[in-house]
């Protein structure tokens, strides 16, 4: 990561102000500091300027000006990303979508919404609730993160086990390409037999252009929800319960585990959920759908948990009780702040059946490097979030964290998994891409990137390792 702060060319700044207004272009270094990092706070680099367009047309003009000035740029939603994907390296200008926060159309009859990229995920669900609808993908940061960021990262969330991730719900996009051209991709009304450019754009981490409008499919709100919390002496037992639940042919909406280290952090914090001190792991199981048959499913899951050795199973029926059961899971990240000043959250995914062995290796790796690791994970999807706790002011510790982090990724790949399930590659994991993706595929990705962004100025330095960018594709 470069740490030189560059300032934007004054002529370009003037043109940008003409395009979007005086107050929508920030160049004051103090104000730029706000934008120096995302949720992965040990990477920091302020942009050379921040531009805040309000409309698709303003966005188009901004991108066009940046293209003409041959200036790299990066789009940013709420900055809750966990891979350094929205960092402005290489003197890039940042396009912040926070003022593009309008729901453009709520089409109840067709169960769809058209939104600007800066709309907050939870706000969309709030706006659709009176019509009995909701937006399914629910990243843990949903009260802050934006739909534009969700599209860029193809975000997941606890309920993706049953409902799938962002890409399943994005039906159409208006995209400003890196040269300022505006294209409309897909659309619920359209089946033109074209290449699935919507599917390709979702998860492209801001490297193909900026989403200016997003059309999403909404779902009818489930009539009933049942939540169950099972406590185990060991992490292994909780994993066995998950396998038994899936093996029983049940399809919960969510299956989430927190480990002993996480529980202790939560219990020691203001978020204390009332877990007994000596608990080894807690499993949250949630079912939703029609009320009919739901209680039978909960009962079946409860039995599977007890068979696997659960010491206690709590069931919630009211919203308040549900919230209490989720507390330990949802507040885990916040609580960890208490036990380590810095947090590196890993995001590898493995086949579910390999979870027990991978968790054992994660523990061993942490012990060997002397790094505290607290696990929170989407057990149903095999998506692990080992949180490596450290102090970045200690360079030696930082080095150990990086070594441990890489070993964890390797262990997950060896188990048939991948390096990132939902947080994205960004800046953080791009050097590790060759561990899991072949030279030929990386090269093809570079060529696809070049189809959108031949000059490589759209979110430079992300996703693809050095040597695979559009420059390489042109050779």
């Amino acid at each position: 990561v470069t740490h030189t702060v560059s300032s934007v060319d004054p002529l370009l700044a003037r043109r940008l102000r003409e395009a979007v207004g005086q107050d929508a272009v920030l160049t004051d270094p103090d104000r730029l500091l706000v934008y120096e990092s995302d949720g992965l706070s040990h990477y920091r680099h302020p942009p050379s300027a921040v531009v805040l367009p309000r409309t698709t047309d303003e966005l188009r003009r901004v991108v066009r000006l940046l293209h003409e000035a041959e200036t790299p740029f990066v789009a940013r939603g709420a900055g809750t990303g966990l891979s350094g994907g929205a960092l402005a390296v290489d003197g890039a200008v940042m396009i912040a979508t926070s003022r593009m926060n309008r729901i453009l159309d709520l089409d109840v009859a067709n169960r769809r919404a058209r939104v600007q990229p800066g709309v907050v995920n939870a706000h969309l669900t709030q706006a659709t609730a009176p019509h009995g609808l909701y937006y399914a993908p629910d990243p843990s940061s949903q009260s802050a993160c934006t739909l534009g960021g969700n599209v860029a990262e193809n975000s997941g969330g606890p309920h993706c086990l049953k409902y799938g991730v962002t890409t399943r719900y994005v039906t159409g996009l208006v995209v400003v390409l890196p040269d300022g051209e505006v294209v409309e991709l897909g659309g619920m009304a359209r089946d033109a037999g074209e290449l699935d450019l919507v599917g390709l754009f979702v998860g492209s981490e801001g490297c193909f252009g900026v989403a200016a409008e997003i059309e999403v499919a909404l779902l009818p709100r489930p009539e009933a929800v049942r939540t169950l919390l099972a406590l185990f002496d060991t992490l292994e037992e909780s994993g066995a319960a998950v396998s038994a639940i899936i093996g029983d042919g049940l399809l919960p909406a969510a299956l989430e585990i927190v480990d002993r280290e996480t529980i202790r952090a939560v219990e020691a914090s203001v978020f204390a959920a009332g877990f007994p001190e000596d608990v080894g792991a807690a499993l949250v199981v949630e079912f939703d759908g029609l009320a009919d048959g739901l209680d039978e499913e909960v009962e079946a899951a409860r039995e599977r948990c007890l068979d696997a050795g659960a010491t206690e199973v709590r069931t919630a029926t009211s919203d308040q009780e549900r919230a209490a059961l989720w507390q330990g899971r949802k507040k885990a990240f916040g609580a960890m702040g208490r036990i380590g000043p810095d947090l590196l959250v890993q995001d590898a995914t493995v086949p579910r059946t390999r979870l027990p062995e991978v968790l054992a290796r994660v523990r061993e790796i942490g012990e060997r490097h002397g790094i505290r690791i607290a696990n929170v994970f989407h057990a149903g999807d095999g998506n692990l979030h080992p949180n490596l706790l450290f102090d970045r002011r200690d360079p030696e510790q930082l080095e150990r964290v990086e070594r441990a982090s890489k070993e964890i990724m390797r262990a997950c790949i060896e188990a048939g998994g991948t390096i990132t399930g939902e947080h994205g590659v960004g800046l953080d994991k791009r050097a590790y891409m060759p561990l899991v993706i072949s030279h030929e595929v990386l090269e093809t990705m570079g060529r696809v990137k070049a189809a959108f962004d031949p000059t490589g100025r759209c979110n430079p330095g992300k996703v693809l390792p050095d040597g695979y960018g559009p420059e390489a594709a042109a050779r």
Partner: protein
């Protein structure tokens, strides 16, 4: 140095024989056969390496290669000529028949990796033993191969409940137009390592490469599979009844209005509602449906429900031609009016399937296309454009196609989108050996 076939007339005598000979040298005698209907050489490689060698030879010799699975989707003229326009004209076919079978199956992970030549029927037999299933019901029924499902990306009636092929494909093994082996995605259900080339390849209709293996997400086999069928007097009544069902704030696995004017007996207009759920939930869904729609005329349970659904998708796949219209769910009436206005004969003769939950209207027939189908499709495309809806031909059928050459049979894309598609295709196939099932007006 392009292959020497001319539109609609097939290769010159002797050329095909020479190609077959060259292929035999690459793949062995068993690796080459003939595609009956077209007379084109059909290469049947057994490994990604063989596909790579084939594609490199194609580049050297200027062959254009079209991947195929079960062959259901192919509508090549006798002699191998193009269906519509010259850009889709292959010199040879490459098939997945010798690349079938399950490669990896871990039931507890609910994932599976199989060769592209595996048919849905074979797959279902294996999944059934573990009480699991793959909820995809594309046109062509159980005869369709996994490679075909991925290449066409076409969803069946179950998509409201379970998603489209793009939602179930986790990873692909593919050989691109350069002959390079690409392992895309993986076998875990969540994976965002790099750009989503899996979704890009799904539905790319053979234009990016030859898919030789597929990793899929599976589901627990439903405890209840039930189809409720209401026979009604006419299309109007079917729509009204269907609308009442669609307006319920419930999630159904599939809801379709079917009308087969050519069929005897039970082929008349009817509404089909499929419930795939736990027993108490299915009973509740049925009760709610009966409350707004009255008691059904027929009720199929278990295998009967699944078999009937498969028979319907089979008919759509095998019968040709086949059209697909797409609009917003609440614009279905308008789409149907435009259809009756611009393609009266097709609307009267072909089977119509209307999916109210997704806004999809499909039309298919048996045997030859009604006269003027393709020309009418152009008029239909124009009529649908103001409402943002589209019409496209999945298979044009084989009758009278030469006359229709050069006609657009799908909506045109905007210039910027066409340019992106062209450049993405070039990224995978820089030498242009893979025409894919793409034609004028679809690719710019």
């Amino acid at each position: 140095v392009r292959g020497s076939s001319r539109a609609g007339e097939g290769p010159e005598p002797g050329v095909a024989a020479k190609r077959r000979e060259a292929l035999g040298a690459l793949l062995g005698e068993e690796g080459v056969t003939e595609h009956g209907p077209s007379g084109l050489p059909l290469a049947l490689p057994t490994s990604a390496e063989e596909v790579g060698a084939l594609f490199r030879a194609a580049r050297e010799r200027g062959w254009r290669v079209r991947p195929t699975g079960s062959g259901i989707g192919l509508d090549l003229l006798p002699g191998g000529g193009a269906r519509v326009g010259p850009s889709s004209e292959p010199d040879l076919l490459v098939g997945s028949a010798r690349m079938g079978g399950v490669l990896d199956y871990e039931p507890a992970d609910l994932t599976l990796r199989a060769g592209a030549g595996t048919t849905l029927q074979e797959l279902d037999r294996i999944l059934r033993a573990e009480a699991q299933w793959l909820p995809l019901d594309p046109p062509g029924g159980g005869a369709v191969t996994l490679g075909g499902v991925v290449a066409t990306g076409v969803a069946g009636p179950l998509s409201p409940g379970f998603g489209r092929p793009r939602d179930q494909v986790l990873g692909l093994g593919m050989v691109d137009g350069r002959g390079k082996s690409l392992a895309l995605g993986g076998r875990v259900v969540k994976n965002v390592a790099g750009f989503d080339l899996v979704r890009l390849a799904t539905g790319s209709r053979g234009a990016l490469g030859f898919v030789h293996e597929v990793s899929l997400r599976l589901f627990p086999r439903p405890r209840v599979d039930r189809t409720l069928e209401w026979s009604v007097a006419d299309g109007e009544e079917a729509l009204a009844l269907g609308r009442r069902l669609a307006a319920l704030p419930l999630s159904f696995a599939s809801l379709e209005l079917l009308d087969d004017p050519g069929a005897e007996g039970a082929g008349g207009p009817r509404v089909l509602l499929r419930l795939v759920d736990s027993a108490p939930a299915a009973d509740r869904l049925e009760a709610e449906a009966v409350r707004v729609a009255g008691p059904p005329s027929t009720r199929l349970e278990g295998d009967d429900s699944a078999t009937a659904a498969q028979a319907r998708s089979w008919e759509e796949g095998i019968g040709s031609p086949s059209l697909r219209l797409q609009g917003l769910p609440d614009a279905v009436d308008e789409v149907l009016r435009a259809l009756a206005r611009t393609l009266p004969e097709a609307a009267a003769r072909m089977t119509t399937g209307v999916r109210l939950l997704t806004g999809t209207v499909r039309l298919w027939g048996r045997g030859d296309a009604p006269p003027g189908l393709l020309e009418g499709c152009e008029a239909l495309t124009r009529a649908l454009a103001p409402m943002g809806a589209t019409a496209r031909v999945l298979r044009p059928g084989t009758a009278g196609l030469r006359r229709a050459e050069g006609h657009r049979i799908g909506p045109a894309s905007a210039d910027g989108v066409r340019r992106l598609q062209r450049e993405i295709r070039r990224a995978f196939d820089p030498h242009g050996i893979l025409p894919g099932a793409w034609r004028e007006g679809w690719e710019g």
